[in-house]
């Protein structure tokens, strides 16, 4: 049951959360993080639903922020509820109108859970530089989804890559995990030197761009990009002296896995739901260093300079230098 608060303030929202929690008879908070979902009127229903289902694994306070800058005077309306969808978390959907829409962090800040991590998620359109965004700046983890920008997805990804800051990740990277796991398993099984690679996917697939960058940064070989009708990624080939390692997934569900001297084997490789992707993101909240290396590689391949072209974190080896590459990047990633 949601409580509606009109013309309200963050402190009234906080009080409503507390009242609801006490009314439910369980004032204790087992929540481990605050998830700020920056969304809009059209998408918030699905986005909040996804966030709530993820809250079963990562009990969270979910703050759905809907900005309506063009609607009249500055005002704040909110729906507050606890539980639902089997989660024990709390949900606030806040609509920020007028001038307030440009100061959304003033609503978010007082509603963050004490101490625990803050994650910002832009299910669709994200700021070009999430770490500089006022809400993004409050978060230690910033999750974008370039694939949501359709025909400009690859361009959006490149913008994100150039503006990378530690703590940023993109769901098009998350989507790659099963592919990367299988490729790594293939090289466990057949530890040969890779001579070249090929990634086939539909057009404007940011995951394919990241996969090429990852393979290039790890293997230092040419990785060709070819196109198919999808869905998503359809095949990856790594060539060795003894034959090809290939994962081929024509229909988006079942893949074929081939390594030299071994029979061809079916392997389930379903495209995952957003909730699964988000749950994976929330499992670890420190900066993803491998993603950092990968977006740096992406910048190099595209001849761009990354904004934060400095060593990433203290604990990490300095990532590969990202001096601007003059090398042309057409559809083939060039090696050294």
């Amino acid at each position: 049951m949601a409580i509606e608060l009109t013309d309200t303030t963050a402190s009234e929202i906080a009080a409503a959360l507390l009242t609801e929690r006490r009314k439910a008879g369980s004032p204790a908070m087992g929540m481990v993080l605050t998830l700020v979902v920056v969304t809009d009127e059209g998408d918030h229903y699905d986005a909040i639903k996804v966030a709530k289902s993820v809250s079963r694994e990562h009990p969270s306070r979910i703050l759905g922020i809907i900005r309506r800058p063009n609607r009249g005077a500055a005002s704040l309306h909110a729906e507050v509820s606890i539980g639902g969808s089997g989660s024990s978390g709390e949900t606030v959907i806040a609509r920020l109108s007028g001038e307030l829409a440009r100061h959304s962090e003033s609503v978010v800040l007082p509603l963050l859970l004490p101490d625990s991590p803050v994650v910002a998620w832009w299910p669709r359109k994200a700021p070009d530089d999430p770490a500089e965004d006022p809400i993004g700046a409050l978060a230690q983890r910033r999750i974008t989804d370039c694939a949501a920008s359709g025909t400009t997805a690859s361009k959006t990804l490149l913008t994100q890559a150039v503006n990378y800051s530690p703590g940023n990740t993109d769901l098009s990277w998350t989507r790659l995990t099963p592919w990367r796991a299988l490729l790594a398993a293939a090289l466990d099984q057949y530890p040969a030197r890779i001579r070249s690679g090929r990634v086939e996917a539909e057009r404007n697939n940011p995951s394919a761009d990241l996969l090429i960058a990852w393979l290039w940064s790890r293997l230092r070989v040419d990785v060709e990009r070819t196109f198919s009708k999808g869905p998503g990624l359809t095949s990856v080939v790594l060539s060795t002296g003894g034959g090809d390692i290939e994962i081929c997934r024509p229909g988006g569900r079942l893949a074929h896995f081939t390594i030299p001297n071994s029979p061809n084997r079916p392997v389930a490789l379903k495209r995952r739901e957003t909730a699964e992707l988000l749950a994976e993101e929330l499992r670890r909240l420190d900066p993803d260093d491998v993603y950092a290396d990968t977006v740096h590689a992406l910048c190099r391949l595209a001849g761009k300079t990354a904004k934060a072209d400095v060593p990433q974190t203290g604990k990490r080896r300095t990532s590969t230098s990202t001096r601007a590459q003059t090398a042309k990047h057409s559809q083939t990633a060039s090696s050294r």
């Binding site: 995990t177 398993a185 057949y190 896995f257």
Partner: protein
């Protein structure tokens, strides 16, 4: 057949220790299950295998061979797995995952004495290596009564199934009971170790696969808060309980003559106790963990007066949870004169500096008040209370309770002021419950353990030494009971016999109601 790997062996450039998203997928391998028609296979093992496949953790080409005395073809076996998966798996059924798995199913019909069948098993495995690329790596899961272990294990040896080619592995998985006393445990082990080296033997104690049990290590060794009070200066005693509300059901054949102490204390409770009591291991690898667990088990002391500090019981007819239930002696296939205990409680002491004078009370039973497994660390009372006796009348002992199942989590119990009174202090709970059990990523114990078998990762499996040490502790108690008449009756649905209450009362303590 092994894979002809290329000559130059390289470090896998796609792996990076920093890349913590990449799951560990088992290498090429297969599993052979003996006893596929049994409860354990259908309810636990096969569903766990499916869940692993669903989470992308099984290698492509994984082979699953069923062995049973049934006149089945591969398709019939596939149907059995299908039913078991549909009914018992944790994760949703997905057609593409099923297809990936099902193409690797094979069935071998036969008895354990049947040489032809084991020959066929050998051919089947070779065929899997050829057609599915299982690489000669196979685990044999003995989901059968332990009395058949010798037959199966010697057949495996006879037919060259236990011996891996270079670069591949063969492993054997056995379930509790690991014997019924020290001698039988040694015998059983002698049989297995004649065929498989110790590092290839995986003993499953599924409690160790539970998230909450692994969380004990995190709680103790990742925090500064608990370890300083985790000793005899602050801890009064520890209670470890595993209670079931059900009776023995259809397990009469297995249970009678075994009883609660052998069935539960010897393995699950002693393992829990070791994790609670052990010193900090130098790392979490198998060897370091074992060293610390063994130290605890070696310093266990059983009570000198077994009549005063142990208790056993047998449930009688009564009402449990709103149902009228029969007593143990009225259960089907149980002899009317059975002296098997369905409840057991014992006091154990640990002779170390950390734990001297802190008794550990272990209890387990069937048809108790409710189904619950928990560890309660009970703290001493504050040495001085600057309050009137009347003000602290309702204040009990501080406690830290690790709830293992069903409602997994941690509770801390401490005193707080009752609102509105002048100064009245009463116990309150602070609760922690992490995540839901319905989440895909929170694996069931068997998933974790089956995956660890396939990865060859041994930390969660008790070694022979631990098994022997816990029998050494338990044998005198069971012998004593055997010589001293019948277990004390307790009414179904209650928390055990009077003797259990008295056992703690003698020490000036009471059992928690969990």
């Amino acid at each position: 057949m092994t894979l002809t790997a290329p000559a130059e062996v390289l470090l896998n450039p796609l792996r990076d220790p920093q890349d913590r998203r990449l799951p560990r997928i088992a290498g090429p391998c297969g599993m052979v299950i003996f006893g596929v028609t049994g409860d354990l296979s259908r309810k636990k093992v096969m569903p766990a295998i499916y869940d692993l496949a669903n989470r992308g953790l099984l290698p492509p080409g994984f082979g699953l061979v069923g062995f049973a005395r049934r006149d089945w073809a591969d398709q019939d076996f596939t149907q059995i797995v299908h039913d078991s998966v549909k009914q018992h798996s944790r994760t949703p059924f997905r057609e593409e995952v099923w297809q990936q798995m099902a193409s690797g199913f094979r069935f071998v019909p036969g008895d354990f004495a049947d040489d032809v069948a084991f020959e066929q098993l050998r051919e089947t495995i070779q065929e899997l290596d050829r057609e599915r690329g299982t690489g000669g790596n196979h685990a044999f899961y003995l989901a059968i009564p332990p009395s058949f272990f010798p037959d199966v294990v010697s057949q495996l040896k006879e037919h060259g199934l236990s011996q891996p080619d270079t670069g591949s592995w063969r492993r054997v998985v056995v379930e509790k009971p690991f014997g019924h006393d020290l001698e039988s445990a040694r015998k059983l082990n002698a049989i297995i170790s004649e065929v498989f080296p110790p590092e290839s033997v995986f003993r499953i104690d599924h409690y160790l696969g539970k998230e909450t049990v692994q969380n004990i290590l995190a709680l103790r060794f990742a925090n500064q808060l608990f370890e300083p009070v985790w000793n005899s200066n602050y801890v009064d005693h520890v209670q470890i309980t595993m209670a079931e509300d059900i009776g023995i059901g259809s397990r009469a054949g297995y249970y009678d003559g075994i009883g609660a102490a052998r069935d539960v204390i010897q393995n699950h409770l002693v393992q829990l106790m070791a994790l609670i009591a052990m010193e900090e291991p130098v790392s979490f690898d198998a060897h370091s963990l074992r060293v610390e667990k063994q130290k605890v088990l070696r310093s266990l002391r059983t009570p000198s007066r077994l009549d005063l500090h142990t208790s056993r019981g047998q449930y009688t007819a009564g009402w449990a949870g709103g149902q009228k239930v029969p007593g143990y002696l009225q259960e089907e296939d149980i002899p009317r004169s059975s002296t098997t205990e369905t409840f057991a409680a014992i006091r154990l002491d640990i002779d170390t500096r950390r734990w001297a004078g802190v008794p550990f009370y272990l209890r387990t039973g069937k048809r108790l008040g409710r189904r619950v497994t928990e560890v309660a660390v009970m703290f001493k009372r504050a040495p001085h209370l600057p309050f009137d006796a009347a003000e602290t009348e309702e204040l009990g002992q501080n406690a830290l309770v690790i709830r293992v199942q069903p409602d997994e989590g941690v509770t801390v119990r401490f005193g707080a002021k009752v609102p509105g009174t002048a100064m009245e202090i009463r116990d309150v709970n602070m609760d922690f419950a992490y995540g839901g059990t319905f989440v895909e990523s929170s694996p069931e114990a068997y998933e974790r353990l089956v995956l660890d078998v396939l990865l060859g990762d041994p930390p969660l499996f008790p070694q022979l030494e631990e098994v022997e040490l816990s029998w050494q502790m338990l044998d005198p108690i069971i012998d004593y009971w055997a010589d001293h008449g019948k277990p004390d009756p307790y009414e179904s649905g209650t928390w055990g016999p009077r003797s259990a209450v008295e056992m703690l009362a003698r020490d000036g303590r009471v059992w928690r109601r969990p």
